[in-house]
């Protein structure tokens, strides 16, 4: 049963890089974006294996804590 799994950021910050695009296949723990907060660049990793169904962000965008930056559809 395919499931939609949200990719979130844990705190308020800024998206630096978007590393996975709509339709890309990703594996759990692959780095899908880089985000900056507290003067540190940190990886955002895929919480599940599947295809990127939605991308909600662009580089440079400010994001709130717990916001959904991407959605992954599992098999």
């Amino acid at each position: 049963m395919p499931k939609e799994v949200p990719v979130t950021v844990p705190m308020v910050g800024k998206i630096v890089k978007v590393l996975a695009n709509l339709g890309d296949a990703v594996k759990e723990d692959d780095e899908v974006a880089t985000f900056e907060a507290m003067k540190m660049e940190m990886p955002v990793v895929a919480p599940a294996t599947g295809k990127v169904k939605k991308v909600n962000i662009q580089p440079g965008q400010l994001v709130e804590a717990d916001s959904v930056i991407m959605v992954i559809e599992t098999e």
Binding site: P10, M11, V12, M38, K39, M40, E41, A65
Partner: protein
């Protein structure tokens, strides 16, 4: 003589019948669902031939609702003691094939007796939970005996290790016993923990929720922080229990057990030069650092998926167990939020109860600020870390790898909180406030004046920032004031920590006499 043999045969015949639990059909159903039976779990956990069962003939107490005519083998729980990797432990293992493993009065008395004996014999206790919950047909008998169990879990807390394995449903009040124990390990797909299941939830708060959504392993390892670990199946659960026990003493009067690992205490690590970035804007995974410095790269992490901005794990250094608390710059820049503070404080206090030295690795830009953090109660949760470290009398060794700003530096165990030895890497930055913030305050007027004069305030800021770093934010400044004992080569992190741990084996420290403190809970 024949009379005696005949009597023995009768009893042994009965014993065999009881061991069949709820019968072959229900046993087969249990196995088909991917679960081991109560007795299979015990046989797997304990060293062969060492398990001694007691109260197999204990009889259920309930007499209403047809219970007086029903056969309830061992009242649905197997209790006893044996050796796990050569060390004694007590265990109760609920039998789901016997009236769904429900907690009846005698079932509860057997569990309480297991705890009483474990406490008396100074041994760990492992609870294998697999139950439909309170046995409603026994009414107050079931409720009261839960209370007796919680009382014992609480009073035994900190004297013997108590490990709860969730190997099936754990519903209602029964969830509170694991919560009072030291560690909770769940099995994926076949275990849940919640105070009320879907039907009651729907009836009382009108919510539609599945068992998984209410209290599956993902909920408790990632969101609520109730469970420490979730593993693939029953065997993995029992294996990981054995591994956890290998780091723990049998009781608070014992030293944690030594084990030969063959990893030299003098081993240096070139790899650390690659792992730890000198650019403060670059993050890294602190797990990589930990694996380099501990024996054989082996760690036992708890709550790994909850508040991952702080890592809490057991490991061995020079053969002896240690508890490691470390910032993880990869997650939230290693900042301390309210969840990480609670997670760390609990782990610190467990280690302190059981004589396990603490090794603290700092790369922390402070406690998390902002409205969300304040409303989450960062003040009272953060205070838990300060309390836990200050109260701890076990050896405390701290290494400052990079940032150690403000309250974060104190909270990750500075000298002021009683760290016995503190080392700093050449990249260490210990300071009262993050430098950019500090400069903005200290030189606000100067920057304002520059702006009014038509000059570039940013130039002033950069100049003052550079000076600030040179004057205050460097290891020589902190070492100059005895905030750290030495500035060390990252390659020598392991030998430095181990030498400190070795001398600390002679450490004596005690708290002022009191009933107990008032920890900000």
């Amino acid at each position: 003589m024949e009379d005696m043999v005949k009597k023995v045969q009768e009893i042994e015949g009965l014993r065999l019948k009881i061991k069949a639990g709820g019968g072959e059909e229900l046993m087969a159903k249990q196995r088909k669902s991917g679960k081991m039976t109560a007795r299979e779990r015990i046989a797997y956990l304990f060293d062969e031939g060492t398990f001694v069962e007691f109260d197999i003939f204990a009889k259920h107490i309930g007499r209403d609702y047809g219970l007086d005519k029903k056969s309830v083998p061992a009242d649905g729980v197997v209790t006893g003691f044996g050796k796990i990797n050569g060390r004694y432990a007590f265990c109760y293992s609920e039998d789901f094939t016997v009236i769904a493993g429900t907690f009846g009065e005698m079932h509860g008395r057997k569990v309480c007796k297991t705890l009483d004996l474990a406490l008396k014999m100074n041994c760990p206790v492992i609870g294998i939970n697999d139950s439909g919950g309170a046995r409603v047909t026994e009414e107050m008998g079931a409720l009261s005996v839960y209370g007796q169990l919680f009382y014992r879990n609480s009073r035994a807390s900190g004297t013997i290790p108590q490990i709860a394995l969730i190997m099936g449903p754990v519903a209602g009040g029964q969830a509170y016993s694991p919560a009072l124990m030291d560690f909770i390990i769940m099995v994926e797909k076949t275990s849940y923990m919640f105070i009320a299941g879907p039907p009651l939830v729907k009836a009382v708060v009108f919510e539609d929720a599945t068992e998984e959504e209410l209290g599956g392993p993902q909920v408790h390892t990632e969101i609520s922080g109730v469970a420490d670990l979730a593993v693939a199946d029953d065997k993995a659960c029992l294996d990981t229990t054995k591994e956890l026990l290998s780091y723990l003493p049998s009781s608070c009067s014992d030293e944690p057990p030594y084990a030969e690992t063959g990893d030299s205490p003098e081993r240096e690590s070139e790899e650390l030069l690659k792992i730890i970035p000198t650019d403060p804007n670059k993050s890294y995974d602190m797990h990589d650092v930990i694996r380099e410095i501990v024996d054989s790269g082996r760690i036992y992490e708890v709550k790994g998926r909850y508040a991952a901005n702080v890592i809490t794990c057991f490991a061995r250094m020079n053969g002896r167990p240690v508890g490691i608390i470390a910032s993880n710059p990869n997650i939230m820049a290693g900042a301390l939020d309210f969840k990480a503070s609670q997670k760390a404080a609990r782990f610190i206090r467990f280690c302190d109860s059981f004589n396990i030295p603490l090794v603290n690795l700092q790369d922390v830009p402070a406690f998390l600020v902002g409205t969300k953090s304040e409303r989450d109660g960062i003040i009272r949760h953060g205070a838990k870390m300060l309390y836990a470290y200050s109260e701890a009398t076990v050896p405390k060794i701290t290494v400052v790898l990079r940032k150690a700003y403000a309250g974060g530096y104190l909270a990750m165990c500075s000298k002021d909180l009683g760290a016995d030895f503190v080392f700093e890497l050449p990249t260490g930055e210990i300071c009262l406030m993050g430098p950019p913030g500090a400069v903005n305050i200290l030189f606000r007027k100067e920057m304002q004046d520059a702006k009014e004069k038509g000059q570039n305030p940013e130039e002033v800021r950069q100049k003052r920032l550079k000076e600030f770093y040179e004057k205050y934010v460097n290891p020589l400044y902190s070492a100059g004031l005895q905030h750290v004992d030495d500035i060390i080569d990252p390659r020598r992190m392991r030998p430095a920590i181990i030498s400190a741990l070795e001398i600390c084996r002679n450490k004596t420290d005690s708290l002022p006499k009191k009933k107990h403190g008032n920890m900000p809970i």
